[in-house]
């Protein structure tokens, strides 16, 4: 039985985490595990993220993919853009499938990385039970949620991760409720490592994947992945949109190692002096015609999150 793994690990101080000294993008390995022949939309940031995730993970890795954009991006049988084994699985089942795979590979004495790469719908909505179960059991795997804040693969319907006010094909008048706080749900499972990342900061993502995979137990990385057709902005603005999410404090980059919070570099400056939220909102068609009340609520939520995480990192709770 594997249920006590987290409890045991929590007793060990975090030392000797092998953080490879990669200080710029040119130091990232040249090997490609996601080839250029993907079926991704123009300007897709989640495929960009996948490329760096796999560069960090290396060839001894298996990707478990539930129904999501990556089901399409990887290409159609018999062709594929993938150069690591990919196990496609039903929408709600990724974390459970990865549990079984992780145990099987361990039983065979293999140290292969088992990585779930799932969208926000498959994580915060239909897949959250399996996710919670796998984290509670202490499964040795890395769960990555790339979050484009809607069901992108099926044509941009709202998910639990869609932010307040955003128009989707099932919230044509704007989403009336807030984005589900997935990270606090995952945090409640006390994983040894969890982090947020954003497609606009590939080096930060690369390092976080490296670090996550050096730790035994259930790890989680939540990536904000801007989506041109869903968010309704020009394809060439994908990197800019991610940067604005971070610079305005809408998306905060951080890590939690054994519960201890560390705000990541790009967010440190942004949280001290956030860029105006308007900069992030105005370029996205999904937020068109936002009412001043909803915008105020969004701004308050951003300020609240910045304060909450700043205070926690400073040890003031």
């Amino acid at each position: 039985m594997s249920g006590n793994r987290i409890a045991k690990l929590s007793l060990q101080p975090m030392t000797n985490i092998n953080e490879r000294s990669v200080s710029n993008l040119s130091a990232i390995p040249k090997e490609e595990y996601l080839y250029k022949c993907t079926s991704a939309c123009a300007g897709c940031s989640s495929s960009l993220c996948l490329r760096y995730v796999l560069k960090a993970a290396g060839p001894d890795s298996v990707l478990v993919v539930p129904a999501c954009c990556t089901s399409v991006i990887q290409g159609m049988y018999p062709g594929t853009a993938m150069n690591v084994p990919v196990y496609n699985i039903a929408f709600a089942a990724a974390a459970a499938c990865a549990s079984g795979m992780s145990e099987a590979l361990a039983a065979l004495g293999k140290e292969t990385n088992v990585i779930v790469y799932a969208g926000d719908g498959g994580t915060v909505d239909i897949g959250i039970q399996a996710l919670s179960g796998a984290f509670e059991r202490g499964t040795n795997f890395l769960y990555i949620c790339y979050d484009n804040e809607a069901y992108g693969n099926t044509g941009m319907q709202r998910s639990g991760s869609t932010p307040l006010g955003a128009r989707t094909t099932t919230t044509p008048g704007g989403k009336p409720t807030a984005k589900k706080d997935l990270d606090r749900i995952v945090e409640a499972h006390n994983p040894p490592y969890m982090a947020t990342a954003c497609s606009a900061y590939p080096l930060d993502l690369y390092k976080k994947v490296k670090k996550a995979l050096s730790i035994e137990g259930p790890k989680f990385i939540h990536i904000l992945a801007p989506c041109p057709p869903g968010w309704r902005y020009p394809t060439e603005k994908t990197v800019e949109m991610g940067k604005l999410a971070v610079k305005t404090g809408t998306w905060i980059l951080y890590e939690r190692e054994f519960g201890k919070l560390a705000i990541s570099g790009p967010s440190k400056a942004a949280m001290k002096k956030p860029a105006p939220l308007e900069d992030y909102i105005k370029g996205q068609g999904r937020f068109k015609n936002l009412s001043p009340e909803v915008f105020d609520e969004m701004r308050q939520q951003v300020e609240h999150n910045i304060q909450r995480l700043s205070r926690e990192e400073a040890g003031v709770c």
């Binding site: 060839p59 990887q74 084994p85 990919v86 549990s99 795979m101 399996a130």
Partner: protein, 370 residues
């Protein structure tokens, strides 16, 4: 070793002998004893399997899929609502050609809540691509579970197998059990398409109509080939362990004018009814249908047939009766009986034969001859 055990304990003992690499378990009445017994084996070090206490049956099958594809033998057990909850993954396991073995302790479906025996749960998975065997005794629960691994893992099959045993009337009934030193009866697990990072492959990606259709035909072809594999494995089992089975268990059928067809424990009860009927001069026999998928060829020419269905397909009648009708052309007397654990005795079964109305359907004790 000769011992006594419940049907559930017999399944657990067979799993221990098969030594899976990974077992995923979620409890449901009346299957619980299986996952509890296996947990004891693992905790006591009698079984080296990795035991994943999943949070749902959907995850149980998903974990088995991941583990089986990862390269180890896998097992899970469920019942009733658990089986229905995992339905999506039941299809997935067969489509992914994974030789997973699952015990299903047959139980009725709510509402209302009813934990007693019925076969509707298994038949709801009829078209998933799983092989399905139904057992009638504790010994058979053990033997069929052991054989299920060998049949599933045969490269001519590579499909999952569901071993069905009746809730309570078999799962919790104690009978004698001869356990075996299985030696090399089960070869080491070998999945030709197991995940291999040295040879990276993509499993189950988007697939166009032509390839998709071909994959479904491959499953059908393997299901057809499975008949021969089942016969081979049951023959080898008989040679090694002295107990032989077949697609049906026939009792006094050779000269029978009327044959009772039933499944699971009711099939054993029918044998007693046959003896009673023979004493009265009625030339009756019984045929306990063991394998439901693949469905066997049956020789019933010139006989009258009474089919007892512990199941239903609303608007269509008994599932087994319709299967017999379509496979043999015979119009049976169809009796729906035993739903939700309704008691059906050998006297009742003898009455079904005495009062048979070929071509008609009766819901025993509820509605006659409709």
């Amino acid at each position: 070793m000769l011992t006594i055990a419940t049907g559930n304990k017999a399944v657990a003992a067979a799993v221990k002998a098969a030594n899976p690499g990974v077992i995923a378990a979620y409890p449901i009445t009346p299957q619980t004893e299986i996952v509890e017994q296996i947990a004891d084996y693992v905790t006591d070090g009698e079984l080296a399997s990795r035991y994943i206490p999943v949070e749902s049956e959907h995850s149980a099958m998903a974990a088995c899929i991941g583990a089986s594809a990862g390269g180890v033998r896998t097992f899970t057990a469920t019942s009733s609502h658990g089986l229905l909850y995992m339905h999506e993954m039941v299809h997935w396991a067969a489509g992914a050609r994974l030789p997973i073995v699952m015990a299903n302790v047959n139980r009725a479906l709510g509402p209302g809540w009813n934990t007693w025996a019925e076969h509707t749960d298994a038949f709801s998975q009829r078209d998933t691509g799983w092989l399905q065997v139904f057992v009638g005794t504790v010994q058979e629960a053990y033997d069929a579970t052991l054989m299920a691994f060998k049949i599933a893992e045969d490269e001519r099959v590579l499909l999952p197998v569901m071993v069905n045993l009746d809730g309570f009337t078999l799962s919790h009934i104690m009978q004698s059990l001869e356990t075996a030193e299985i030696g090399d009866f089960l070869p080491p697990y070998h999945l030709p398409h197991a995940i291999d990072t040295e040879n990276p492959c993509v499993y189950g990606p988007m697939t166009g109509p032509a390839d998709y259709f071909r994959f479904r035909w491959d499953i059908e072809r393997s299901m057809r080939d499975a008949r021969g594999v089942i016969a081979d494995v049951e023959r080898e089992f008989a040679e090694r362990f002295g107990r032989s089975y077949g697609p049906t268990e026939d009792y006094r059928c050779e000269d029978a004018d009327v044959v009772v067809i039933a499944m699971g424990t009711l099939g054993k009860e029918a044998e007693v009814a046959v003896d009673r009927l023979r004493d009265e001069g009625i030339k009756a026999g019984s045929m306990r249908l063991r394998w439901f998928r693949p469905f066997p060829d049956l020789d019933l020419a010139g006989r009258e047939v009474v089919v007892i269905d512990r199941d239903y397909s609303f608007g269509f009648g008994g599932v087994v009766a319709h299967s017999i009708r379509s496979k043999t052309g015979i119009e049976p007397y169809s009796v729906i009986a035993g739903l939700g654990g309704q008691e059906v005795t050998y006297n009742d079964i003898a009455d079904f034969v005495r009062n048979r109305h070929p071509g008609e359907e009766t819901w025993f004790g509820v509605s006659d001859h409709v």
